[in-house]
Subunit: 150 residues, 2 copies
């Protein structure tokens, strides 16, 4: 699931988007690519605690603008960030996949393989994009719970 990439590939990614190769940016990239779930803003902040808070916000913002990551709010309204796997372009995301929010471990999974079902909205509504949220138990947590019961 998690794409393993080395530092050279992250440097390439930055260069490709006309972003300077800086330590903070490379560390944020490497951290986010090492996980198969989205990372909440509070988590990011505590893990990247050597990077200035404001710098972190600005890094996340440019990455989002460039289509490198996308922001998703979990069920508590907390901002989460995940790498884009679909073909996102600058200022034009294609993140119409399912976001699964585990109620136990709080992780947010991007289920890219699940594309949106077709929907016909009430007349007058013109939808430009969709996002689907589900909450429940992720595979790990549902296993744990099953183990407890036995």
């Amino acid at each position: 699931m998690a794409q393993i990439k080395n530092n050279y590939q992250f440097e390439d990614m930055l260069q490709k988007h006309n972003l300077k190769k800086t330590g903070p940016r490379l560390r944020v990239l490497s951290m986010m690519y090492s996980k198969n779930t989205a990372t909440s803003q509070p988590d990011l902040e505590s893990v990247m605690n050597d990077i200035d808070r404001v710098t972190l916000y600005r890094i996340l913002n440019v990455f989002e603008e460039k289509g490198i990551i996308h922001k998703v709010f979990d069920l508590n309204g907390t901002a989460n960030y995940a790498v884009c796997h679909s073909n996102c372009q600058e200022n034009h995301h294609h993140d119409e996949h399912l976001h699964f929010n585990c109620t136990a471990c709080k992780n947010v999974y991007c289920l890219n393989e699940l594309n949106m079902p077709r929907l016909n909205l009430p007349s007058g509504f013109e939808a430009q994009s969709f996002t689907l949220y589900a909450s429940g138990l992720c595979p790990k947590c549902s296993k744990k719970q099953a183990a407890k019961v036995n």
Copy 2:
């Protein structure tokens, strides 16, 4: 769309949920039932500016617990509150409808008539609830835009 209710009905609602009939609660109820869209927290706060901020938060929280209203985050992560039209019960909401966020007027519409499509998740994921978000132009704003073009 907007359910017209009078003050006696709001008093009944409070009583039914074992909540004391107070001025602030009645005014919040009447305000929210007068609209067919969700209301953002900032809007609520400025409209209900005679009610203490903290009191407003606490009112919204008990209403949500009791299944009278539900909270929905818009595309900017801003909290919005809307009355529950489906049969929501205490601590057990049934708000699996589409939330439509207009990119022009920023309103959030609860499209209750649209029920969720069936989805089969990747194995291991056990979903307990779904929410669907769409963004684009609402009927009013798409009309306005059409008028501009002509």
